[in-house]
Structures are given as C-alpha cells and as structure tokens.
C-alpha cells in the first residue's frame, strides 16, 4: 500500500520504538528519537551545520510513503532526476539510497544531519573513531599519523581539538575532509559514541571521502556532493545506524590496524 504525503513532516518508525522525522519538502531529516542505554528516548538531531545545499534551489520533492519504515522522494528538475529512498531498520539503521540521472551536468548535495548523541549539551566528550588513514589539508592529502586527526583509534573530539595547532584560531570545531579506506562497497567509515548516554552512531558509506564538521553542540558526518557529468547516472548508499555502545566492541585497547571495512 502506498500513500502520498502532504503534511509538514513524515515519520518513519521501527519495531523498537525508534522514530525518524523527514521533511517531505526538502528531503532533510528533522528529528530522530533514539533510546539511550536506559531505554529513554531523546531527539539526537540538531539543526544542520550548513544550510541545505543550494545546488537545487527551490526544489520540490514528490514524496511517497512506502511503509511505516520506508519513504521515497523524487525530484525532477532542470534535467536532473533524483530518487531518494529512506528505510528505517529494526536494528536502528537508517538506509539512505540516492539514485540520480542527469541530462545536463549536475551536482547533488544533501544537507548532512547534525547530531548530538546526548540529546543536548556539549559534544566535546563524544568519542570518534574513523577508518581514515589520510585527511585533506588545504586540498593536499596528508597522513593522519602523528596528527590530531588520527582517529583510527577512538578519541574524544574536544580533547583532540586541544592538541597544539589542531584548531586554527577563530574556529570552534572540526571542519575537515577525510579519505576513507575501502573501494566503493558499503562499509563502516565512522563510529561516534557518547559515554554519558551510551548512544552510539555508526556511519556506513559507499563513497571514498567524508567530511567531519563539529562545533560545541553538534557534529555531522557527511559524504561529498555527487558530481554528475552530462548523461550520467550515479547511485550512492549510506547508512546512519544508532544503537547503544557495546563496551567490548569499542575496546580502546584493540590493535592499531583498523579493519572496519572487512
């Protein structure tokens, strides 16, 4: 059964009481209610770090609910066709599947959701792990080894920003690109945990790069905008999965070589 959606937000839900609100007009995520280690729900989304990408100004999405847990959005405009599918799984994973065909050269950038896993307050003590051996510094690819940007082992965001030279004067967080290990298959690229609530976010992507942005109250993990040459089709899948931290799996004494993409 399908139904068209016209209200100001559409809610996906799974069997474990998790709810995700999608704005059917611009395809952005509005709220994500997820349980902490005590089973208490909180909205872990904040306003996006950057305004929704301006590549598709005034775009009108057509929205169709596929099921309680699924939603399909379509955009056809200026020689660009995009189909975006959201699916909330029982394991807490929100699958986002983006398919695009361009008649003219186009660029698709979706506003990355910004998270605060505690449901409010500071994110400085959130612990990040990234499957990235290199990061981008002034467009140059640089090894993370020996720098504050080496998150191959989990490290707290705030304490890393306190490393000498990690944070350029006048900035309040991360805004860095990272090159991911792996080869186009859907694989785990990042994991962020909040020790206080026990919530953990895992990020899976098919893309080779990731952008980490943060300020005092939120962070976002996003893949780069899709560039489509004339007549090209592209598909990109990514997954945000929210769960509760498994202390053994996030073991800080794990060996150094990271193989998240096994």
């Amino acid at each position: 059964m399908t139904m068209s959606v016209s209200s100001s937000s559409h809610t996906l839900s799974n069997s474990r009481g998790m709810r995700v609100q999608v704005n059917p007009h611009d395809a952005s995520l509005q709220a994500w209610w997820a349980p902490d280690r005590y089973g208490r729900l909180a909205d872990v989304l904040e306003h996006a770090m950057a305004a929704p990408a301006a590549e598709t100004p005034g775009a009108r999405w057509q929205c169709e609910a596929v099921s309680d847990a699924g939603l399909e959005l379509r955009l056809a405009q200026d020689g660009l066709c995009v189909r975006l599918r959201y699916r909330l799984e029982d394991n807490g994973g929100l699958h986002i599947d983006c398919e695009a065909v361009a008649i003219a050269p186009a660029r698709i950038g979706l506003a990355a959701p910004a998270f605060n896993l505690h449901g409010g307050g500071m994110v400085a003590d959130h612990v990040l792990r990234l499957a990235a051996d290199h990061y981008l510094q002034a467009a140059a690819v640089t090894e993370v080894a020996g720098s504050a940007f080496d998150f191959r082992q989990p490290a707290p965001l705030g304490a890393r920003l306190a490393w000498p030279g990690a944070q350029p004067a006048g900035t309040v967080g991360f805004d860095h690109g990272f090159c991911l290990a792996g080869d186009g298959l859907l694989r785990e690229a990042a994991r962020v945990a909040d020790p206080a609530s026990g919530r953990e976010l895992r990020f899976f992507t098919t893309q080779p790069r990731l952008r980490l942005q943060s300020d005092q109250h939120r962070f976002s993990l996003a893949t780069e905008a899709l560039e489509l040459p004339c007549g090209a089709a592209a598909r990109h899948t990514f997954v945000y999965r929210l769960g509760v931290q498994d202390i053994d799996a996030f073991d800080i004494s794990e060996s150094v070589s990271l193989s998240l993409n096994k």
Binding site: R37, Y38, R40, G93, H95, A124, D125, V127, A145, G146, A148, D150, R152, Q153, P154, A155, P156, G158, A159, A162, W163, P164, L186, R187, E188, A193, P195, A196, G198, R202, F204, V239, R241, Q245, I247, D248, A249, F250, I252, S253, V256, S259, L260, N261, K262
Partner: protein, 397 residues
Amino acid sequence: MKMPTAHRIALLFNGNKIYDRDIIAGIAAYLNTTRVSWDLFLEEDFRCRLPGIERWQGDGIIADFDDPAVCAALANSHLPVVAVGGSYAQDDGYPAGIPYVATDNFKIVKLAYDHLVEAGLSRFACFSLPEADVNRWAQERETAFCALMERDHMRADVYRGVATSAPSWDEAVEQQIAWLNSLEKPVGIIAVSDARARQLLQACMHAGIAVPEQVALIGIDNDPLARMLTRIPLSSVIQGAEEMGRTAAHLLHQMLNGARLAGTRILVPPAGLNVLASTRHQPFQHPQVMQARHFIRQYACQGIKTEQVADYVGVSRSTLEAHFRHELGRSVHDEILHFKLDAAKTLLTREPGQVADVAVRCGFTTVQYMHAVFKRELGCTPREFQLRSRSPQAASP
C-alpha cells in the same frame, strides 16, 4: 644513507595497574602509527625508580606526576618533560611550567554519579582513601563528588576508611560494614577506584547487604582483575588512559621538534561506562524478591534450584513464586536461567574455550540443555553465538 638518531625517552610509571599500563600502551600506539623512533627506557618490572634520574643522558621524559616523588625529582629537569596524572580542581595542584596531560577527575565522578541517578538512586555516598600524598587523585575525586552533592543540594557522605594491611584487614572490613549499615538504603556508592569498590563489595557480601538493590556500587578504572575477583560483576568508569598516552607522546614529539608547550594542559574525559550487575538497580522492589535475586546473582552458576532460593529468603516456594510473577513477570527458575545464560554468553564472548566447559562453569546440568536454552532464547547454538561474537567487527549495516 645515515639513519636518523633515535631519541632516548624515559617512561617513569608504575606499570602495575591497568591505568598506567594503558597509558604506556597509548604511547606505544603513537610510536607504532608514526615514523617516530624512540629508544624507550623502562625498568624491566615496569616500576619507576628515580635515584640518579637527574644524571641520566637522555632526550626526554614522560612521567606519572601523581607520584609526589616524581614531581620533586623532575621539578628542575633540564630535559623536556611531559607530565601525566589526575586533574585538579585548583590550579596550584599542577606542576608549574610543565605540559600536563590529565585524566579528568571531575568528569569521571560526574559520569558515575549521573549513571547512579539514571539507575533510579536518590541517595549517594563516596568510598575514598585515607588522605595521602600518593593518592591526591582520590581526594580530587572526593572533591568532585562533594561539589556535585552541593550543586544538587544533597549531603555528601564520604568515607575514607583505613589504609589496609594484612593485620588490619578484618578491622577494616568491620569498619566498612559499620559505615554501610549507617547509610540509609537504597544508596548509590561511588568508589574512587575498582580496587576500593571490590573491597566494599566484599564487605556488602559479609554483611548480607544486597547489591545492587540496597547498595548500588560503581568503581573507576574498568579493571578486569577487580571484575574477576568479585562474584557480582562490578560497574566501572573507563578512563581515557590510552588517549592520555597518545597525547603525551604527541606533546613530547612536538617538544623534541622545538615546540614550547610549557603552559599546555590537556584534560582527557572518560572513554565510557561499563554497566554491569552492581548498578542494575531496580527501585521499589519487594524485599523478598530483592533478597532472592541477590542470592541468585551470586550462586546461579553453581546450579542452585528454586527450593534453595526459597530457603535462603525464608519463605515457601509458592509465596516466592507469587512475588516473582507479580514483580518481574517470570518464575524463580526463569530468573536463575537468565543469569546462567548471561554468564555463558559472557564466557563465550571473551574466551575461545570449549562449549562443554562453559556449560559446566555456568551451572548447566548438560551441554544438551545449554544448547536447547540457547536455541530457544537466542535462536542459535552456543557455538554459533561464540563464532558470531568473536568475528571481527561485523560490518554489515
């Protein structure tokens, strides 16, 4: 081609505790992931020996500044020094002019306290250590606890006890029991370390105080040894010790490259919380159910039956069953089975051992029975469970 000369770096730590060992592991991890090559100087038993350090011909030192002897010996060192230790509420706790990497004592205690609040407790106490120069960190954790109590308008009940030595063990336990008895229950207690928490847990067992129903207890360090030595798995705050090691190594690396970091102070927050049985508090439980679960938690793996639980509580089997159905919606037998299953899952996850061995250790009468319980409760065999949980970081989204 000339090889670059490796810097000679001394690590002054007492590596007999998990915290110090994790810091050293963090330093090693930093070296392994960079091309930095250091010749590390440590005593062969990883203990810190200071005499003569001022005459040592090296290039740099990373040292544990929780030890006042280390502070004194390195106060006027001509070598680059990075200090590692506990954080202080007051600035004058830190050594002057030396870059310092700290474990954030306030955040550690706050994480433990917030957890006890979430677990449903409304009265709190702190089990500390007698005031001494060598455990200023314990006093700092005490101070953090008192600050939180004051913030929330509650009375801060802090007990320091006595320093233990073999002749005074019994006396120390008696005093701990007296203190425990003096507290209004239920109460959540934060111990300043896992070692301290283990002692208090033992006192609770001696005095027949139910954990976590009457006393919910949390330690600091997530020390596997402390967990192994307690019958009731101990909840604990995990310090960011490895990250402290990585940070200290990075600072020294920068200093060896000429950076001046005298005023640098980096506070590392706790890395996580290991929530186990000692704080799985369920408020408003029937006293007989509470007592029964306390008994089951300790002896489930020794093959106890419903009869023995009823005997321990001192009520008839049918009365106890009725209370269990009403309070928990399950039978006493199911509760025992639940604990055995949890214990078996933990063993299968952590150790590569034989399934038959796990069945015996967890009080299952036969392997076939454990097999059947796994199939029914988890939909897989014990072996499948073990393989699944041991496979590296299952990455399927």
